[in-house]
Amino acid sequence: MRIEEATSERHVLTVTVDNEPGILAKITGLFTARGYNIDSLTVADISENHAISRITIVTKGPPEIIDQIEAQLERLVPVHGVVDLTTAGEHVERELALVKVEGTGETRVEALRTAEVFRANVVDTTPESFVFELTGSSKKIESFVALMRGLGLVEVGRSGIVGMMRGSEKI
């Protein structure tokens, strides 16, 4: 017999939660237990008294599964709320990457020139290497990394997506 897979779409969810032990395990465990996907996940404390964290999850699934993910997340006691940025309206998404390249001579100069085009900052340098810091959409980071592959790419670290609605409204 064949096992069928449904077509899926990408959604960015922000989840505000009580900052308590085990909450991240609860959320990631929910995704594995129910067979949902996580493309990226970021989490950090966002309140003055460190009581609340904001989690941004990029996931893929058919619309009815995305709706289930939202409902299942909202069912967890420490979860205050879930917003699907993809359906809620216009939003911005940003990601930070650190990219290490190694090289001398012309490739080194070319790497620096490309970094300038992408508005990447040099955060560390030695005579034969750079570490670039780059912020932007995932696409921008992916094309920068692709170019660096030919210019002595050594290592990439990415933060995963953080997203927010455009305009003055608070979610």
Partner: protein, 585 residues
């Protein structure tokens, strides 16, 4: 509360404050400080089980039959892991339960200490919520929140893991009562008015309505069952129910269709398939109910009332989802209905009468293989007839006997039928009966069991003896894991791989060994007398009722089939199935 109390003393005080009558538990190293507090404590009673699985199921039985949360107390490591099946069972069936587990001292957590297990990690996905309490000052607020979460919204189990040093420590002065804020978790109880109005419009215009009810009605409290009867009376709609919802509508009601689903009645499943408006109240479109999804009730508008938003549109897309508590929403529906009159349902009722005429619960008088054997359906029918005056509480194990009990025993009110529906846990029935008997000391409590299931928690016979609980176990003994055997007959050409109950104990002698009365029924002529002597005995009884080994549980929707493709007794059944059907559980 006094500041000079240890964590263990605070815990016991909190349990008393919550009105806890019974704690089902088993002592061990990591809970000794709590057990010491319980020594001589007269405000609550500790029930010593024989295995922690028994504690969890007994708490479930108590909760399901009384509507109050069940409380479990077990030690760290194996104590907690043994309780996990019962916790998972309570999670699937939405049973309010608070489980206190001991943990190794905080300094030893993570060191693979003796009897250490990551209880919070292990129970994370089979609890509604769980806690590891590292500060005795947080104990009080944590226990209060645990009870609130377990009992409100969609009920469920909550685990509170307490390291041994936290049980001994005294909270620092002034730091008491900090901890999780209690304003969080506010489930939506009332349905949105606009949705209630929309629902009433659909129901009032329905020509072929059906109410499909579930365990949510029982969980919502007896008021929900009363309101269901009222709504049924106003709308005239026929009612079916899931396994978990039996008793919400009395079984002798003219519009009662019987249970639906895999072993439901022909009339219930046909009505579900042909209805034009389906009102699902506190049920969750489980795979055992829907049959093949793409053929499930194709022509109906579906309304789903559930306190859990995640249950709505999970398995079946509905036209109108109402998030709210069953009793509250039923009250709203009745109010908005006012003095409306339903459509003429004469034609719909006539079709249902036609389906009823199939007499889907008819079964052969005699077993084909052994004409002298008692038919198990007959045994349940007689048990029902001879005990119904006492309005008994029935618990079950899991398998054929469970389905026969659901089909041939009849219920007239909520909280009388305790069974493991979602998880399907063999070994549930005996401990659940013990919990139910404690919560309802004057009621007749009977565990309808199979000879295989009963052995899964047979050790709890000792618990009933110790507390002098007059529970009855009625074993339908067919010397097979009957449901497994039935599926092997229907899907694997009768290759009965490991489903024979070999080396069975002598249940009568076993009963006597535990100080119970044992009765064996071999022949139909002994059936009534056996049941009567079970009832007459003022103490626990095992009835070992030998029944036909080849009886199957019908009607049945084979796996992967639609509601309209039911098998009834006498239908030709193929000996095998295609892989797609086999892959479904």
């Amino acid at each position: 509360m006094s500041q000079e109390r240890s964590g263990a003393a605070i815990l016991v005080e909190c349990l008393v404050e919550q009105g806890v009558e019974f704690v089902f538990g088993y002592p061990g190293g990591a809970v000794l400080p709590i057990y010491d507090e319980l020594f001589g404590e007269e405000r609550l009673r500790h029930i010593l089980v024989r295995h922690e699985a028994g504690a969890a199921h007994a708490a479930e039985g108590y909760a399901r039959s009384t509507g109050k949360p069940g409380v479990v107390l077990v030690t760290s490591g194996p104590g907690a892991t043994n309780a996990v099946t019962g916790i998972a069972d309570a999670f699937m069936d939405s049973i309010p339960m608070v489980v206190i587990t001991g943990q190794v001292p905080t300094a030893l957590i993570g060191t693979d200490a003796f009897q250490e297990a990551d209880t919070v990690g292990i129970t994370r996905h089979c609890t509604k919520h769980n806690y590891l309490v590292k500060d005795p000052a947080e104990l009080e607020s944590t226990i209060r929140e645990a009870f609130r979460i377990a009992t409100s919204g969609r009920p469920g189990p909550v685990v509170v893991d307490i390291p041994k040093d936290v049980q001994i420590a005294i909270p620092a002065c002034g730091s008491a009562n900090t901890g999780p804020a209690s304003h969080r978790y506010q489930p939506q109880v009332a349905g949105k008015d606009s949705k209630i109005a929309e629902a009433i419009k659909l129901i009032a215009n329905a020509k072929r309505p059906i109410l499909y009810t579930g365990g949510g009605i029982i969980n919502s409290g007896p008021e929900a069952s009363r309101l269901l009867r009222q709504l049924q009376h106003l709308t005239g709609a026929p009612v079916t129910s899931t396994l978990m919802g039996l008793g919400a509508l009395p079984a002798d009601h003219p519009d009662w269709l019987g249970m639906l689903g895999m072993h439901g009645t022909f009339e219930a499943n046909m009505s579900m398939n042909k209805c034009d408006v389906m009102v699902c109240i506190g049920a969750r479109f489980d795979d055992r109910v829907t049959g093949r999804l793409d053929a499930f009730s194709p022509d109906s508008k579906k309304i789903h009332i559930d306190i859990d938003r995640a249950s709505i549109n999970k398995n079946v897309r509905v036209d109108l989802g109402i998030v709210g508590d069953c009793a509250t929403v039923l009250g709203q529906l009745i109010e908005v209905w006012g003095d409306r009159k339903p459509q003429d349902l004469g034609e719909w009722k006539a079709r249902i009468t036609g389906w009823r005429a199939r007499e889907c619960l008819a079964y052969p008088e005699k077993s084909a293989k052994d004409p002298s054997a008692i038919m198990p359906q007959k045994a349940i029918e007689r048990l029902f007839e001879l005990t119904k005056q006492r309005n008994p509480i029935i618990t079950t194990e899991v398998g054929q006997h469970q389905m026969w009990a659901a089909q041939y025993f009849h219920f007239f009110g909520p909280n009388k039928w305790l069974t493991s529906g979602g998880l399907g846990t063999m070994g549930y029935g005996l401990p659940a009966a013990i919990g139910a008997q404690l919560g309802n000391p004057d009621d007749l409590v009977i565990d309808i069991a199979g000879e295989a299931s009963i052995q899964m928690n047979i050790q709890e016979l000792g618990t009933a003896s110790q507390y002098r609980l007059p529970v009855k176990i009625f074993v339908l003994n067919n010397e097979y894991m009957g449901m497994v055997r039935q599926w092997q007959e229907l899907t694997y050409e009768s290759r009965y791989s490991n489903s024979y109950s070999d080396s069975l104990p002598d249940f009568v002698a076993l009963a006597q060994a535990y100080g119970w009365k044992g009765i064996r029924i071999n022949d139909e002529s002994e059936l009534d007398a056996g049941i009567e002597s079970m009832m007459a005995h003022d103490g626990p009884v095992i009835v070992d009722c030998m029944v036909a080994k080849d009886a199957n549980c019908f009607p049945m929707i084979p796996s992967g089939a639609a509601h309209t493709e039911m098998l009834l007794y006498g239908d030709q059944v193929d000996g095998t199935m295609d892989d797609e059907a086999k892959a479904l559980v």
